[in-house]
Amino acid sequence: MKLIKRNIRIIVLAVILLLGSLVGYGAYSLGSFGNRWFSSASNVYARQQKNDVIPGRIYDRNGVLLASSDEEGKRYYHTDSAVRSAVVHVVGDSANNVAYGVESFMAQYLYGFSDSYFDRLRQAFSGVKRRGNDLRISVDASLSRYIASAFPSGKAGAVVVMNYKTGELLSLMSFPLFDPMNIPKNIEENPQKPFWNKATRWLSAPGSAFKMLTFAAALKNIPDALTKTYECTGAYQVGDSVITDAGLASHGALTLKKALEVSCNITFAKVALEVGDEGMRKAGQAFGMDDYFLFTDLVVENSAYPATNRVNKEIAWTGPGQSALLLTPLHMTMMTAAIANDGVMMEPKILLQAVSDAGDTKASLTPRAYRVPLQPFEADVITEALRGVVTSGTGTRAAVSGLKVCGKTGSAQVSGQEETNAWFVGFLDEPDLPYALCVVVEDGGGGGQTAAPLAAKIFTELKNYRY
């Protein structure tokens, strides 16, 4: 019998562990995903609850009223249709067409779901219908309106403007826009998918804009990266693929810095091969690729570094940012912001403050570092190189006099599209204008021609209306 009893002890341990795992997994699961499940469009209960509460107002960072409800609960957005269209993908709309906009993702504040019992009691006794909490978000409405007017009309794309010191998003826009108070009947048939937030959900290969990450990988893996030179002869054969540069240019001997300025594909292809797939992947992952993004304020699609065993030509094309890389414009902004912020990547934030109708602050912004992919000196080196791109490289049209603009252009080839996607990622190396941005114009042509000038305009606007 002693034998049986000894065996039973083992069984007991196993079963108790199993039951414990229920609690552990449940806690983790609810803690990480609870808000997302709650905000999901399939949550009937939340919708029903909304009938009993007047949702709170939404203000932009300067106090401009972006959304409010009347006594019947009807939702109104900014009176100027240009403004409300510009912020529609951040704010969302009342019919939940935009997935995970502030209206739905922060419903727990707007409808007071997370109000304490005392709040509810107090509001019940005051006699008026319950009000949710008012929100102040980091978005700048007039900046967004300006960007909307400057963006090439008829094109799809995205623009993200971020404060690289705190992670606040000043602008999060996806084109085409739409008017939440006048939604056209056949909007769903629009192949450019206006409801979709391309800044956070659209994954693609960013083209040459990615070279800044290849540059970082080189710094980390190649000992003499800064002094080494690479020979660019206009064509570089890897496997059965030939790597060429735009306009079939042949650059000669280039340092990495120079190669970044002229955006030499061949150099960065060689770098990618030299660093190796593993090295490139590790660098990407240091910047957050392959992460499962679980940000508190917004939902972002996960970026992916190609996973399969790759032949040399695929690795080579990764260097210049083609191949099967998948990144969102927001993630590209975050990466740029990391370079600008001495190597510290901040988590993107939208919520500045949530205030109850009685004036208590329920939540406020807490900037959080998400990853630290670079050491400060590495960030300095890349910053310098990116400055060179704007002063004497492919990004000269992003230059703004009186500002130190740094950035990288990109022209991503997409099969089936006549023109390339025009990319520009960049930032201001100015202490009191700590902004990074990403501009993508689908089917827009060259990054230096289409995206860079738009970036310059945005930077100018930022400078003129110092925030």
Partner: protein, 255 residues
């Protein structure tokens, strides 16, 4: 059907959820404490009943060392054996007490060298009685089963009962008992047992009152202990009413 107006009901219900949760926590907490307390009480009771669950002793005839015999157990050299002896297999012999028959010894391996009363033990098992001698691992052991257990008399040939008793006293005189007190019902510690510590005792009043549930279970304990006064002596009905031909006691293969 009317009811509380919805907002009022909402507030009441939301307030009550804390109360209900509190009760649930109280329930879990009290259950844990009850279990702990009862466990402690059980252990204490068991310590005061050193022979609980035992049917007797196995005495090493050479050294006089005595091992407690559980109602069901295993003799071997392994760590998990109820009686651990060196020089034999890790799992040598199984013991199963059957009221009315004796302590059944079942060898754990087909090829064995275990003898009970000079005869090789059958692979299906043989019954040891009070005084039976087991030859195992080159040594001899005698079974001493408690008085009052329902076992048949040992038809012992080799040893006269008196000699057996004398030998037993000899053994005891050497004070080589490893654990428990002598195999007769312990009287020494009975003082500590009054009043009975086991919480159930008060509810189940025996002897004085008629038991509300007269049909005591028949299970492998000394239920037919003649020491119990007034107890209806149950007839020997240990044998099942029908003898199945394919005996479930397992004559075939390993038992």
């Amino acid at each position: 059907m009317s009811g509380l107006s919805t907002p009022v009901y909402e507030l009441v219900s939301m307030g009550l959820r804390y109360w209900l949760l509190f009760l649930a926590v109280v329930i879990v907490w009290r259950a844990i404490r009850l279990m702990q307390k009862e466990n402690r009480l059980y252990k204490k009771t068991m310590r005061q009943l050193p022979d609980a669950g035992l049917v007797g002793e196995l005495v090493d005839l050479e050294t006089g060392q005595a091992f407690q015999l559980p109602r069901e157990g295993m003799i071997g050299s392994g760590r998990a054996s109820d009686i651990r002896l060196p020089g034999i297999r890790r799992r040598a012999l199984e013991l199963v007490f059957r009221s009315g028959y004796g302590l059944k010894l079942i060898p754990s391996h087909r090829k064995h060298h275990l003898r009970l009363d000079e005869e090789l033990i059958a692979s299906g098992g043989d019954y040891a009685l009070h005084g039976s001698v087991l030859d195992m691992g080159g040594k001899a052991y005698r079974f001493r089963l408690f008085e009052g257990l329902d076992v048949p008399e040992h038809q012992g040939q080799s040893y006269a009962p008196e000699a057996e008793e004398a030998e037993a006293e000899d053994v005891w005189a050497q004070q080589m008992v490893m654990q428990a007190p002598p195999p007769t019902p312990p009287g020494a510690q009975a003082d500590e047992m009054m009043p009975p510590p086991w919480p159930r005792q008060e509810e189940y009043v025996f002897q004085e009152e008629a038991l509300p549930y007269e049909d005591y279970s028949r299970h492998e304990s000394g239920a037919s202990d003649p020491y119990l006064p007034q107890q209806e002596v149950m007839p020997q009905e240990e044998e099942p009413q029908w003898q199945p031909s394919g005996d479930w006691e397992g004559q075939d293969g390993y038992h």
